[in-house]
Symmetry: C2
Subunit: 449 residues, 2 copies
């Protein structure tokens, strides 16, 4: 077609050079063989058992990904297309202005998941799960959401895959965060408050406790129960806590490895105090970041500290007990061995809904129990102050959950001054804070610079 | 230092290949010589004159950039660093899912300014203006804002440059959009409602009209008056309408040219109906996109249609009169020749605050008057429906202003089916809609897919 040969554009303006970009990984990384010990067995004694329920409501491909046979799990080309479409790989940002403000020798890198279309790393797994659900002929995605980031991600993933979505959102969050509800509904999702009168679990709970504010435990129970009611057309998806979600999130660590290599910035240099830092609620951004590094810690080729930042409102890893427990209230999930605040724990009403879990996942807890994972509990106000500092220096506004990791990183970086080496600190910047401005304003009430 | 040589990371996971990236332009593009006629003279008969006021409140370097001597204006290296830091170049996204949904042969590209940290293209000029203000020893940035995007950008640019900022926000917008106010205040900005009791203009207006809801005209008057009161330490910045802002925004068109070239996608192929489309309020995203293409239209080397999408609530380009007028109420700016709804026009209270201007800028109006610029007035509901369609197909949520351009693009793309060729349509996706979810919800009230 002659018109097409007419005008290959010349470069009409000179352009500055660009840094070496990295591509999307070809495989996810199954880090289960790199854990310091096998995952403890679950307790699953219900009737029906949680395993039987999972076989009904979860896509089979995802259950298979809970126990991959190889370390390298290929990413199908169609999934790679989806991941590119949502903006992967995400940038690895060197926070030079923050370093200067702190007067630290540390090199601080932020892995910027806030740039994804839903403003949260949760989308990395949602699009994969939606893909497999659609492959298996399931037409409705069902899930729960606390703060709303996972719900937004499932609503978007469903829309991109041409599926329906039904989302149970913790009632008090739904009332506090109308923007997230609007987003899901704009995508065509059905959003219900949990506890919900539309499920048998919710009806019973509301009959006993009419004004129940809901919790992640009620929402998981509502969602699984509803998926069971819908039958084979439905797929129940989890946003965290289970191995296949961690597998999908290993893109985080894999991209960081490739990006640091492209920058010629080694990490894990012995004696230097290099760190990987992430906040920990259900553990998926933490495991996604550190998982691909576990092998090199096991074989001693790296010296790297792994640090989980948790909320002081639910300090499971620093003050919880290692015991069996489960995440839902109705008993539809198995009991796993993990650090726990106990099943009756009610966290104070902090704004950081993503870190209010009462029970830690098996993988995170095992890393902690075996001494590979450090943990620090951060108070919300201190976290949001760190978030404000990063906004003012770097121009980037992160979610309250992320700011817990930022506060931990600031502490590590300041301490690093006392040593001779220049440590590398990588922080998983899990999400954007644009929809959390009300929380910032409420907690910090304006404060001067 | 031996530790640094220890471990250059091997590429630990295979990575897929990446598309050719483009760098940041080395120059802005001064398109004034490429306009079809000289810009008409302004009327400036006040005492003091608007020109004298500008000499006091505007950084000199910016006034010089209103009349550059060359077409290519070098971007200082320090400014280039800032622009890279905020995430430039931004992606050029091929909207293949939208194309498929429309069943169009057109290739639709979205220039994604929503990924900037403030979620708006406005930041491209704010960081430059803050740089020159700081260079000249000014310590306080003063400006007005309607919807809040420009105010957010100035607050962030001030913080990154270590300056203070004082922002006058239209009172009714301030009340409707608390998130944008929180963002500015989190950055340390002083935010005042306009009309403001802290300026002589505002005091007089409030005395006459105590419940005045404010407008862009009142806010400009408040801001310039306040900058005059503060004296030489202050710099008054504009977000649109003046040539130096358009110059800064030519990064948009320059990056698009380089990105299309890297994709081997020619634009301006004769007879094919290629389009550049942007919404038009003050005209800065429109001029920034089309400006670098004007030379090739003048010399006939391209066949390209330029289309402005305006709000049907303030349809200056399609229904206004070509006349002299000004943007502020106090008479502190010059009168310029442009398409206007007249000085007494009060637009209906639409959610799209960025397109409610009553008077078009000289450059946009000249392009229209000389027949180079097409225009279409879009109703808000139709615009937000197009925004919802793009969210559901592409997964990207854009600002109400942007959705006017999206609606225009959809119309062009659907019409393109009737022709034989595959036109290229570039839409300037000026901003993110995350903070506008309430507007989407109110206007669309849920509606099914």
């Amino acid at each position: 077609m002659p018109s097409h040969t007419h005008a290959r554009l010349p470069a009409e303006s000179a352009m500055r050079s660009v840094p070496i970009p990295v591509g999307l990984p070809t495989h996810w990384y199954n880090f289960l063989p790199d854990l310091p010990a096998p995952l403890p067995p679950v307790r699953d004694e219900g009737t029906p058992s949680a395993a039987e329920i999972a076989l009904q409501v979860r896509p089979r491909a995802l259950l298979d990904q809970d126990r991959p046979t190889e370390r390298r799990v290929p990413i199908p080309e169609a999934v790679a297309d989806l991941l590119r479409r949502i903006g992967r790989p995400t940038p690895l940002h060197r926070a030079r202005a923050l370093e200067a403000e702190l007067g630290t020798r540390a090199h601080i890198y932020l892995k910027r998941e806030d740039v994804l279309p839903t403003g949260s790393f949760k989308l990395n797994s949602a699009v994969v799960q939606a893909y497999y659900a659609a492959q298996e002929g399931r037409t409705t995605l069902v899930t729960e959401t606390g703060a709303g980031q996972w719900g937004m991600s499932v609503a978007l993933a469903a829309s991109l895959a041409g599926l329906d979505s039904e989302i149970f959102m913790v009632r008090c969050s739904l009332d506090q965060k109308p923007y997230r509800r609007h987003y899901m509904e704009l995508l065509g999702a059905t959003v219900r408050a949990s506890p919900s009168p539309d499920t048998s679990f919710g009806r019973e709970l509301l009959a006993r406790s009419p004004g129940h504010p809901g919790s992640l435990g009620t929402a998981i129970s509502d969602a699984i129960g509803h998926a069971l009611d819908l039958g084979p057309k439905a797929a129940y998806l989890s946003g965290s806590g289970v191995p296949h979600v961690y597998l999908h999130q290993t893109l985080l660590g894999l991209e960081v490895q490739a990006q640091l290599a492209a920058l010629d910035e080694p990490i894990g240099v012995p004696g230097r105090g290099d760190h990987l830092i992430a906040c920990s609620g259900g553990g998926s951004n933490l495991c996604g970041l550190v998982g691909p590094f576990l092998g090199s810690l096991g074989d001693g080729s790296r010296d790297l500290r792994l640090l989980a930042a948790e909320s002081s409102a639910a300090p499971r890893l620093t003050a919880g007990r290692y015991r069996y427990g489960r995440s839902d209230l109705a008993g539809l999930t198995p009991e796993v061995l993990g650090y726990s605040m106990g099943p009756d724990f009610v966290p104070p009403p902090v704004h950081t809904a993503g870190l209010r879990n009462h029970h830690s996942s098996a993988a995170v807890s095992l890393l902690r129990h075996e001494g590979l994972l450090d943990a620090v509990a951060v108070e919300e106000k201190r976290a949001l102050e760190a978030g404000r500092l990063v906004l003012r220096t770097e121009g980037l506004l992160f979610a309250p959950e992320t700011t817990h990791a930022l506060a931990a990183a600031v502490e590590v970086a300041v301490r690093a001054d006392e040593t001779a080496a220049d440590p590398v600190i990588v922080v998983l910047a899990s999400g954007s804070g644009l929809l959390d401005l009300q929380s910032y304003a409420t907690v910090l009430s304006g404060g001067a610079r």
